[in-house]
């Protein structure tokens, strides 16, 4: 469904990534994991069409994406508090992008109600973002993307700004929602555990200038559990393999500059 070939981008003389190629098939959840500063967000912005990369090609359903966001694509940003519109209620935020779609009012309202129900916020439709916790706000942002019925959902570090407990909840929420409603998701994260826990496949990026260091299939059962899955042997070996790919290569000096950037 999504085919990225030879993608590269540089800010001035600073090459962030080169020759990135990856595919996402229908119904898959693919995680991109990489060290900070390797251009994960830039990569996602390029794929979404929010910006135009210097080189390479992005095809969504065979159609090139270049500087314009495809109509059947939704993005969930890391910073939910600034991605939601504070003057709209939760329901208003979910409804906002649906207004340009050719739906009757009843259909639109139904989609809003449904999407809020999927993320467990059936009763919070009238609340404004400020009256909600971070986790709830990110649920609204996810509901907004789901109600839009995108062919592909892009998520840019969606759970990086919530506390650990909420993060587990939201990860399971994402897994449940995509299983029940057959979403195709491309998710970017810096968290190795998260990428392995969530993904059907994990694409590991190397240190900048980043390239694809590995594209691994996650051989874990579809039904995952925060405690059992994370304790399983398959999970542990996968996560240490990803960690080796991320941190194993390169010398310690580079590691330090990377830490400083973070």
């Amino acid at each position: 469904m999504l085919d990225v070939t030879g993608l590269g981008h540089a800010f001035g003389a600073n090459q962030v990534f080169t020759d990135i190629s990856l595919t996402v098939n229908e119904g898959e959840l693919v995680c991109i994991v990489g060290p900070s500063g390797c251009g994960k967000s830039t990569l996602l912005r390029s794929i979404s069409g929010l910006m135009t990369p210097k080189s390479g090609e992005i095809l969504l359903h065979g159609q090139p994406v270049r500087g314009k966001v495809p109509g059947d694509l939704a993005v969930v940003f890391q910073d939910y508090s600034r991605s939601l519109y504070p003057w709209l209620t939760a329901a208003g935020n979910v409804e906002f992008p649906l207004k340009r779609l050719k739906l009757t009012t009843a259909e639109r309202k139904e989609r809003v109600r449904e999407a809020l129900e999927w993320v467990g916020l059936a009763d919070a439709g009238k609340k404004r973002p400020r009256q909600m916790s971070g986790g709830m706000q990110q649920r609204v942002a996810i509901a907004r993307a789901l109600a839009y019925r995108p062919a592909l959902m892009l998520m840019d570090e969606p759970f990086a700004s919530v506390d650990a407990q909420t993060r587990f909840e939201l990860e399971d929420l994402l897994l449940r929602v995509r299983r029940e409603h057959d979403c195709t998701v491309l998710l970017v994260t810096h968290d190795i555990d998260e990428s392995v826990y969530l993904g059907d496949r994990v694409v590991v990026l190397s240190r900048p200038p980043a390239t694809v260091a590995a594209d691994m299939k996650v051989e874990l059962p579809a039904q995952r559990d925060q405690i059992k899955t994370r304790a399983s042997e398959a999970f542990v070996s996968l996560r240490s393999e990803v960690a080796r790919l991320l941190h194993g290569s390169g010398n310690s000096e580079e590691n330090e500059t990377e830490a400083a950037e973070e």
Partner: protein, 288 residues
Amino acid sequence: MTATAERSVAPATTEAPRPRRPLPLRLLIGFLRHWLLFIVLILLWQWYTVGDEDPYFPPPTEIVGKMHDLWFSGPAWHLWLTQDAIDNVLPSIGRLLGGWAIASVIGVLLGMAIGRSPVLRDFVNPLVSFLRAVPAPLLLPVFMIIFKFGLAMQVATIAFGVVWPVLLNTADGAASVDKTQVDTARSFRIPRLQWLFGVVLPASLPKILSGLRIGLGLSLVLMVVSELVGTTNGIGYELLNAQQSFENAALWAGVVLIGILGNVLNGLLMLVERRALAWHGANSREKE
């Protein structure tokens, strides 16, 4: 060590709160805190002026009496407004609100365009900074030539003065829409009009409203000034008339009326602001 420190602090927090004063007393204290200085100054003025008969400084009681006679002693079915009030005060308020409203619409629309388009901003910036430096009253003669005497000239003067603070504040607000909010709208392909009125407008609303409030104060000034030249009615006209016929109480009555008018209009706008910005951080802090 820390444990003992905590223990010694704890009783202070568990202590029963100080009993609150009864409600009437609290209301009285609150009232005095806001109005005591004002009341004392009025009383001083009264006490000072009632003794000697200075014709230029009539006592407050006389001014209030004059206001009542001039404007508020009409029949009940006119809401107690006199014919004089209907002929002079209402037209003034009409001009003020008309000029302000026209300037607000123009200022907000142009401001949003300028705020969102860097090219347009560079294009019109020198013109805007030149025009806004021109005091609106100076343009009265120009507007008199263009519009002749009367309503259009006054409304144009008010609108010219008010449009700049509204425009500049709106442009400022529109230019600083959060980047993630912009990206969100782009990623959902929000159409142009929905983007402007559904995102840019509400996002700039705090700034717009503060521009409108500055504009409202200006429009009061410009209303009076425009009525001092070239009209046959209005509060400004009445003021000028009273001054020329040495009716000092009526002169002061006009000044007081304008002061009250300014306060009432500002208060109303602040009510609107509070409602419109209920979602905004500055006004909803107590909910967190």
